[in-house]
Symmetry: C2
Subunit: 351 residues, 2 copies
Amino acid sequence: MENGSEPATKPILQALAGTVLTPPPVWLMRQAGRYLPEYRRVRARVSGFLELCYTPELAVEVTLQPIRRFALDAAILFSDILVVPHALGMDVRFLEGEGPKLEPLRRPEDLAKLRPGELQERLRPVYETVAILARELPPEVALIGFSGAPWTLACYMLEGGGSKDWSTARRVALGEPDFFGRLIDLLTESVGEYLLSQIAHGAEVVQLFDSWAGVLPEAQVRRWVIEPARRIAERLREHAAAVPLIGFPRGIGPLYPAFVERVRPAGIGLDTTVPCGWAEAVLGPSAVTLQGNLDPVTLLVGGPPLAAAVAHIEETWRQRPRIFNLGHGILPQTPIKHVEALLSHLHSPGR
Amino acid sequence: MENGSEPATKPILQALAGTVLTPPPVWLMRQAGRYLPEYRRVRARVSGFLELCYTPELAVEVTLQPIRRFALDAAILFSDILVVPHALGMDVRFLEGEGPKLEPLRRPEDLAKLRPGELQERLRPVYETVAILARELPPEVALIGFSGAPWTLACYMLEGGGSKDWSTARRVALGEPDFFGRLIDLLTESVGEYLLSQIAHGAEVVQLFDSWAGVLPEAQVRRWVIEPARRIAERLREHAAAVPLIGFPRGIGPLYPAFVERVRPAGIGLDTTVPCGWAEAVLGPSAVTLQGNLDPVTLLVGGPPLAAAVAHIEETWRQRPRIFNLGHGILPQTPIKHVEALLSHLHSPGR
């Protein structure tokens, strides 16, 4: 690492503390995943996807795989955002090629089926994975923990699986705000607890994934995305002040500044659709560290478009504390040599 | 109409010319559609959805249905964005519950299968529908024509149907820019011709729907969304200067101002995710008329949330030339009485 001159602090932690590093530290959303043959081999050994998430030995292995291959500055805990609904007692299944299926919550009474008291016990294997990773990671690589955000978790819990437009969740959020508010409150509590426990077991950074924030209109973004994130951020500041939070309210576009202002995360994950120059301009007055936002399709395509896109992000944000990342997860068909090329462009610009 | 004092000009045309009208003129995307029982009855009489689009008598009937029921200021031609690929010679089918299916273009040679020379002949029934509507509409109601925009049409033509993330189209756009550019050029030509012919047959306003503009990163939005729209707008200004264009680059968020600046449409359709106050602030310096942007889920839910959302939009844009609309199409389950309530809130605020 070129930042080895400051061995006491890992580059990602420096960047999140506001230091401008060039080249910037880098990690990639879904860096442990199907594009890696060694991941596919491990995946083939277990029958269900959740089994992989809940078997510390295997979750540690797949978390470390991309770190062994690539010069990445962070490992992100291998898990899934749906472990929280699962740990709350919901039936969650991952069907091959179909995505997740849950027995959805349909009415306020269904909230009584959730078991927040059992959350910590059921998530114990995840904490064990975090603890092992904290011991085994190379000293310069940071360990990132994460959780799905309340809105996105509520989407799956109400729809019973993925959705094109999340119209059931949106309808309940707007039309049954008492029911929905109780669900969000419960999730806000659970997510806070989950992240604090990951931190207690060794996570050095935590990211809050609100993957479906972008389907809501402004008033609902403020109520169901920004406000729960603010409460989670406050709780982390109170109990784990040294650990930076990265918010990722994917797709909220013009409301990114409102998110940053209210939540005050150390870092903000910008999705692929956010213009870099616009982000620099509107988030300039805040101290937030920018993270993102290469389009995974660009990484898939590689070649000159990849070189140009990396150069554009770096040129635009060069005076900014930043972490290089994708704006969405790596696509399964991505060639490994394109990831290598990305890191080479980043570490040896102009070559 | 309360604007009957200016009988020579229809309210929507006044608003698009920059006049502030309170209450604003209103129409609703997908106002002719499955939420109306009279639509479902007509739909049941034809075997295929395209047959409905291509049978002038029936297309006229369903276009007029919402005008008979509601105090709307415009009728929008009943058709589908996929008539353009169909008229270019592609096989397009609408399968019940599955959405459209096309035989996708896979390689540059496939462009030779497209027949732009036959476009106008094959779209003749649509023009006939426009001509009948122009004669039959009540005098205060404007006739809106429309087309899908090149990027969105290319998405369907390359994917062969709907897609969650349009990754094939995005990959081709980035990785095969010659092939993709030729397709976009052909579509830009075709869409311009199509809109000009709708105008020649009596359309008084045209809207350009770029439904999937929101999946692209900035550079690609500028190249494949904004630039084709600019060329279409220029062509309309040259040959049909009196007819206003409404752009609807759905989901481009922070890039709406760039779209307005480059394309210079008379009106800009804002999707549900655009904060009204932000739009007012960033589009303030331009002369553009705002259109939107009630969330269709709010219309579905009705009640106090609907009243509050209508009041919020109206309050925020009260000093602005504007057209009230949804930010996306009406959902099929929408109760008709909610549409009536919306119009009542708009026409009698505070009651």
